[in-house]
Every structure is written in C-alpha cells, then in structure tokens.
C-alpha cells in the first residue's frame, strides 16, 4: 500500500499568488471597464526584452545543434566550463573573492537550488528564516518534514522566525542560541532591505562560532547601487567556511522565462555526520547534481555566457537602470501620498507601511478597487509582513509612471 508524504498535507492551500489572482479575476468580472486600467505591481516578473547579446548567443547555439561537428548532447551536469569560468572570474575573482570554477554549479533556477539544497542536509537541523520571507524557503522545509503544522498566523512550528521590522531596518540580529541552517536574502525579497558588511560579518561570526551554514540568496545583488554594500556573502572574511550562495540570471538579465542560475559551494565548507565528524559538502552537492539533474540546456548556457561580454554587461546595466528608474518613480509617488516607504534604493522592491488601521489585504483590496493597482499583501510573506505591502518595480516605464501618478494622488 503506497503512502504519500504527509508533510505536503500541512501546506496551506491558499498560497499567496493564486489568492491574488483570484481577487483580481473577481474584480475584473464585476468591473470589466475598470479592469482595463489594471496595472500589476505584484509578482516580481521581468517585463523587458531579453538582452541582445543573449539572444544572439542563443541563435548561434541553435545553429551549433544543427551540425554534426558542433552538436552537443549531454553536457556536464554541473555546467559547461565556458560558463563556470566566466561566473567565477567576473562575479568573484575579479572582485577579489577566491572562488574556483568548479565551486560554481549551474542550474535552471534559484528556486530549484534553494529548494534542492535541503537534500544534502540532515532532517535534524534547526532552521532559521527571516520573517517576512520568500515562501519557498519555508514551504520546502514543510515538505521535507522539518516543521509541525502552521498556526493561525501561518507560521509553522519548528522553524525559528527572525522578525524583520522597521526597528531593525529589516535586518535581523543573530539569535541568542545556536541554529544550524540560516536563510538570509539580501537585497531582500520582499522588503528591499540590504545588509551592510558589518551586519553580515555578525552573521558569519555567529555561523562560524556555532558550526552553522548560511544559505545566502543574492538573486538581487545586481540592483545594489551603493558601492559600500556587499554583493556577495563571500566579501565577508570566513564566509567560505560557513556559507552557500545562490545567484540567478532571472532578474538582472531578464531570464525568468529562460531559466539559468547558479549556486556556489566552496570546497572549504563542511557539515557533520551522525557521529559528529565533519565532511565537505561540495562532493555531496556535486553528487546530487550528477544523480538528480542533467544540466542546463547548452543553448541557455551559451546565452548566460554572453552576459559576461562587454556588450552583455552593458545591456544588463541598462536593464537594471530601467527597473531602478521605475523604483525611484514609484518610491517618490508613495512618499508623496504620505506613506512610509522602505527599500527600492538598492533593490527592485518597495516595502510600504499600510495606512493606519488597515491590514495588508485591506490595503490590497483598496488599491485594486479604487486605483486598479495590484500589489502584494505583506502578510502573504509571513506574520511580520502584516501591515505592509510590496510594490514591484518590474514593469514598463509607461506603467510605472501611470501607477505612480495614481498612487501620488491616492486619498487614503
């Protein structure tokens, strides 16, 4: 008699984005005319065309696949050397961080990597997440059986939630007791907060002192404008002994529909077996890749490689400028309307305090009904997100300007 993984039954069915879609759809049915004005500032999906350098590389790679002499079948599961070396050189070594080519693992997305990384860890670890938080970190731990059921606020028993609030500038302090795995994400989704070198140093010191592993999600590092801010956890001394870093081409190069990302697992990183003996994690992650994955499309890897050309880097810079221009326009409008606004200066997300007395979903409904603007309710990202909403800067300039105009004049 086959048994299912009962941990899946603990997952809340009303996932954030389907509920948003349901409310938007109901609004559109009731007010079809007003619905024509809808502007979506909800999901963090890119809107601008793929960089020309990436497209040209893909066109060439498709031609490669049409000829015997250049055809490629199975590639190395961990990624082609032509891409791993570019990543290690441009994103790390040229910035003074010692990362070897084979410490880079090319994948089809950071969501997969953040989820799959749990495979190589024991079920006994104590796990800390920021709150609010990208739901994937939490849900994958629920699925793996690392939690109890959820309480009324949606928090799962067994996880340590680290509240991120205006009081701590949305950067949590280290806990006063050991934890084993710590998810950190900077620039943060959803709050748009960034962490300084000093703040990350405290986390690295904590991890080294407690033999913890930091799972560092840097998917939005390209949006950092302040030169004093770290782009990588490995800018912190000691981090290669306690941190795994996740990076993605989704948001900087508009690859959400193309699918390419990477994970850095330094060879100096270890975790303990049941007897307490340390083992390097690099061979475990490499083995996971070889056994459960067959590598990213050759064509996609050529596209990612092209992002590191002069042309590709200029085109990425232009995309970042575009989205950060939107963020600036939206930020000023929200401030003009009298709201408290966080983030949006080194991240494509604005985290906005709801008007006094309104919950996240009440604010969502108000903006949908009265301004036809779709935002993301902060409570969907965790209990500490209640009373906030997220505005995404991923949009056309025209939409950003129109949304800003409506927001600036909104009567709360």
């Amino acid at each position: 008699m086959a048994y299912l993984n009962s941990n899946y039954l603990k997952l809340k069915s009303g996932y954030l984005f389907p509920e948003i879609a349901r409310r938007v759809s109901a609004f559109a049915s009731q007010y079809p005319e007003k619905a024509k004005r809808l502007i979506r500032c909800g999901i963090g999906d890119v809107t601008e065309p793929l960089p020309e350098a990436a497209r040209n590389a893909m066109l060439r790679a498709v031609q490669d696949m049409g000829q015997h002499s250049t055809f490629r079948g199975y590639g190395p599961e961990q990624g082609y050397e032509f891409l791993r070396s570019k990543i290690a050189e441009f994103d790390y070594r040229s910035r003074g961080i010692s990362i070897a080519d084979d410490e880079i693992f090319v994948s089809d997305g950071s969501k997969c990597d953040c989820a799959n990384i749990l495979d190589i860890f024991s079920h006994t670890n104590c796990i800390a997440v920021m709150d609010p938080v990208y739901p994937v970190y939490v849900d994958t731990n629920v699925m793996a059986g690392h939690t109890g059921p959820a309480d009324a606020s949606g928090a799962y028993y067994g996880l340590l939630y680290l509240p991120c609030l205006p009081e701590n500038h949305f950067v949590p302090s280290t806990p006063n007791h050991p934890v084993d795995l710590i998810y950190l994400c900077f620039p943060n989704n959803p709050t748009g907060a960034v962490a300084s070198l000093a703040q990350l140093q405290k986390w690295v010191d904590f991890a080294l002192a407690n033999d913890s592993i930091i799972l560092y999600d840097a998917a939005y590092e390209a949006f950092i404008r302040d030169p004093a801010l770290p782009h990588s956890i490995y800018e912190i001394p000691g981090a290669t002994k306690c941190a795994i870093e996740f990076r993605s081409f989704s948001k900087n190069a508009g690859f959400t529909g193309v699918r390419c990302a990477y994970t850095v697992v330094p060879k100096t990183l270890t975790a303990r077996d049941e007897s307490g003996n340390p083992h390097p994690l690099h061979p475990l992650w490499a083995r996971r890749f070889s056994t459960k994955f067959n590598g990213v499309s050759y064509i996609t890897q050529r596209a990612a490689e092209a992002l590191y050309s002069d042309e590709g880097r200029q085109q990425i810079a232009a995309l970042i400028d575009h989205y950060m221009g939107n963020a600036d326009i939206l930020r000023k409008a929200l401030l003009a309307s009298g709201l408290l606004v966080y983030g949006g200066e080194n991240a494509p997300y604005l985290w906005v305090k709801c008007p006094t007395g309104l919950t996240s979903w009440q604010t969502f409904d108000l903006l949908l009904n009265e301004a036809q603007i779709v935002v993301t309710p902060g409570s969907g990202f965790g209990a500490a997100g209640e009373g906030f909403f997220r505005v995404s800067a991923f949009n056309s300039r025209q939409n950003a300007i129109e949304a800003a105009s409506r927001l600036a004049n909104f009567r709360w």
Copy 2:
C-alpha cells in the same frame, strides 16, 4: 551544528561512467596511437543533429524574447498549455488513451522526474527495482534514506531487486508479497527488453490488488517497432489508477543537450496518508512543481511543441530509423562473432552475454584493449548484470559500421 544527510555517504564512490572514463583515459595515455581508433558505444547519448523543426521553432522563440509584445517571463511551472495539449493529444488521446492536458507535467528531464517523484511519497514504502537497472532509481532511494548500506555486489539492503535474466526474457514476474512502489522501464535500459501487453497487465493487476504505484519509465518508447507492443502503461486497463509514466524528448528527438521531458500523473491516482486515507497524488505533484521548480525554458517548450508538427514527426522517425539501423548492424555483427545477443530490436540498446568465463569488466577491458571499442559493463547496472555488457546504438552510421566490422571479426 549543521548536520549533513548521512545517506549520501552510503553511495558507492566508484560510479559506473566515471570508472569507464578512467579506464579509457588510462588506455589512451598508454597507447596514444591505438586511442585514435576508439569508438564509444558506451553512454547512451545521441549523436545526430537536432531536428530542423525544433531548431526553427527555437529561432522563432528567441526572436519572441526580443520584443515587448511577445516576450515571456515566468511561465506556468507545469508547462505551457500549447505543449501540454500537444503531448496529451498526440501521445495519448489520438492513441485511444484518455489523458487530460493538465495531467501532463513538463520538466527539464526524465532523470529529474524519476528522482524527484520520491518527494511526494512517504519514507515508509517498500520499493522494488529491476536488476540490472538505471542507477538513478537506486541512488535516489539511497539518498532519501530508503536503504541500508550496499553489500559486496553493490546491492543496497532494503530494496527489493527483481532479477532480469534470459530465463524470464528480462521481464520480471510480480513478487509473491506486496510492495508499494515499483520501478518498471520498457523498452529497458540497459537490457533493451520490451514488455508485452499481457506482461504489463500482470503488473497492473498486482499494483491494483496491493495499492501499489508503478513508476513507469517509457523514455525509449519511440524505438518500439513491433506494432503489438505497448508504448504506454496506460494502454493497460486500470493503469491510470496505479501508474505514473515518465517520457522524454532526449532520445527520440535528440534533446539530451536541450532538456525537455514530461511526467503523466492521472488525477485518478491515489496514495494513503498515515491514517490510511487515500488522497489524490496529482495536487501533491503539482504543488511540488510550483514550489521547487519554475518551469522549462519557453524556447525549449516551443522546440518540443514543434516535434508534433508533420515535419517534426517525420524528422523524429528519421532519427529513430537511423539509430535502429545502427542497432541492426551491431546486432548482426555481435551474433556473427558467436555471442548471445538480446535487445536491439525495439530498443537502442543491445545486451550481450560475455564469452564464457569472462566477467563484465574483463570483457570491457578486452574490447577496449584489442578492438578499441568502449562498451558498458553490465555489472555496473546491478548484480544481475554481471556477465553481460551493453552496446549502445547511439552513434554515427560510420562508427556503427566500423565497430560492427571489428566486432564481427573479433577472436574471443
């Protein structure tokens, strides 16, 4: 203190294909002149260029990504409707099998699917695998903690191995006690064996009687030439209540470097929770996709869609004819050399009995040293593979003819 998944430490380090690569490399160092003659009939990777229909579709899709009006960001995690509907219609409904579009889950590879499917099942299930077997089924169960350590033959305690031998035509009988999850693969990798409707009916009856789930790997179905043989487990009455099917574009359309496959999870399929209550598996697999995966590249899905055009289907048929032509040439040569040969008539693999007195690895070394032909030692696929070797038909025609010539004249 972070703990690792100690189950990974049970995995044997000497994985089959790295060991083959090591021996080939040692030979090439010692005999550089002879090494120029090497013909690889080992790994089952395609050699022929990608079908033109797929390439043209990708070129168009890359252009789509360059324009605002046709740009695609995140797609549906489970696959675009344009592809799911083609798969369900051409591979199932047009063949009289009732499968709905949304029972198709488009992924980046059957290896991933076969591995990831374990996520939705409990760790308490009793698991049966064919022997010899595609190593991924076994290794992913080891990683998930479903086994003890390996014995001297490489078999892991806790798995039920179903020996596949000439005596049963490499199609195992149902066991005389219940098992919960059953991996079946036809046409088989590595033996090239096929299962008849009657043989599969016995397995479906067994699964229905025991509330088991069959994990049916049909990655090689396109190579079936005998019209009496089933291409899908769902040709068997009752199978939509007890089977998940895995299909791939890797081998029929040469997508090993492009990465696209799919899994069929019928909505009628259930498994039990801890209290013994049945739940449909479809929502669990859908949830896994939404949470741990972000869909296959839009460009790749357009390529897969094009395989279902008239042009695409003709080009696939030509590829299959090519590889099965190789299989025929190699089969005749091996028979001419006096060996016992199985498979290769409805599958791209030949499964060959080693000459009397030789083990799989001894035969491997002999063919490498004396004929410069690389095969795959059968023992690498499991204990019951000892005394056999696998010859792959994935090659250029020129290489197949040359390998056949050397094999036919080989003095064992």
